[in-house]
Symmetry: C2
Subunit: 230 residues, 2 copies
């Protein structure tokens, strides 16, 4: 586990902690590491989950599939991201929203109760941990808020431009890449893939946008400065 210490130091949950403090905490929390192969669910659906997950390597999507087979992608998680904490904290059991491994990946699993029940030994770290968890959940709420802002747009074009503006602002450049392919982007925006392609083509014709595969260049005066994050 110690070989991951450089990663752990960057994780929001351990922010403001010293190296030895983190190692002690990881042991104290009884964290376990688990591997998942491509296209497998990380928490079993229908079973009450008591773990908070931290993504160590690989890519994970938080998805929900509706009755028509449409996949709704909530988030794409990257190294160091925390997941499962919201549902676990408030004891939501039968959610159909689940983390799916998009590539082979490694995950650190921490029992929720060991986070919330203060242990005698390292109480000061524990308070920091809970505060860090608070900031983490607040950030997740903000990400969900951003997603609502995108989905609240009435047209595919507006959804798309809101998303791309955000990505451009995030990268600080008109030229930027996204980690979704077309189908995944459509699933993230909750629109039809072919309709998305049509809209992309139109925007290209109109000179508002240029793109090749997953690399985009967006016209600067289209970018709006709404405070969102995708």
């Amino acid at each position: 586990m110690e070989k991951n210490i450089e990663l752990f130091k960057k994780i929001s949950l351990f922010k403001g902690m010293e190296e030895n403090e983190i190692i002690q905490l990881i042991n104290c929390l009884g964290a376990i590491k688990k591997k998942y192969s491509k296209n497998t669910q990380i928490f079993e659906s229908g079973i009450k989950n008591i773990h908070v997950g931290i993504l160590i390597s690989g890519e994970v999507h938080i998805v929900e599939e509706d009755v028509y087979g449409n996949q709704n992608i909530f988030f794409r998680l990257h190294q160091g991201d925390i997941f499962g904490e919201v549902f676990t904290l408030i004891n939501i059991i039968n959610s159909a929203t689940i983390p799916v491994a998009i590539t082979e990946c490694e995950v650190l699993l921490i029992d929720k109760n060991s986070i919330l029940t203060p242990c005698n030994k390292i109480c000061s770290s524990h308070i920091k941990l809970i505060e860090n968890l608070l900031y983490n959940v607040a950030n997740k709420a903000f990400d969900l808020h951003s997603k609502v802002l995108i989905l609240s747009k009435r047209t595919t074009r507006d959804k798309l431009l809101t998303f791309l503006s955000c990505k451009s602002r995030e990268s600080g450049d008109q030229l930027f890449s996204i980690s979704f392919n077309r189908q995944q982007l459509a699933d993230f925006l909750c629109v039809d893939r072919s309709a998305l392609s049509v809209e992309l083509s139109k925007l290209k014709k109109e000179g508002i946008l240029d793109y090749h595969k997953n690399t985009f260049r967006i016209n600067t005066d289209i970018i709006d400065n709404a405070s969102i994050r995708c």
Copy 2:
């Protein structure tokens, strides 16, 4: 302020605390009470907000208006609800999402820093307070997650049925009332009001739904048990 103590005892932020503990905490936090008249903004937009708000009386909508004038209603807040905490916690400054007083209302304002900076006197209450804030933010994240689930539906019908199913499950009865009027419901579902009315009429004709004003009766075998909350 003490006359509101019965309300404060019910507020999630003060859960698990004794009456005198709460009174002490309110004073220690330097909370102030403020009145807002109908249709006024509670936090000024564009100005960095450092307050967490608690709704004491009246009704508040969290809204965002887009460039076309469409109002997007995120939430309807009721007595005891907490707001502004997510943006304040993570220092989002120029959000266009703002709390608006729908009726005349009273609000308790608490400086974020007095919550996060532990005071010497009542440290045990303070830890409880931060834990309660954590649960509160997790619940807000879940509410936003629920809203994403509604907006991810492709048709007005599916958005509407998801919302009404949720409300019916919440009330534990096929017969239930909602606090939105038609325009507000349309704004919450992010659809056109007249299209919403058309869809409601269709559902009534098909025998799936019956309604009069804000009271609805929904066919039991339509109600799905998705874990969401609206």
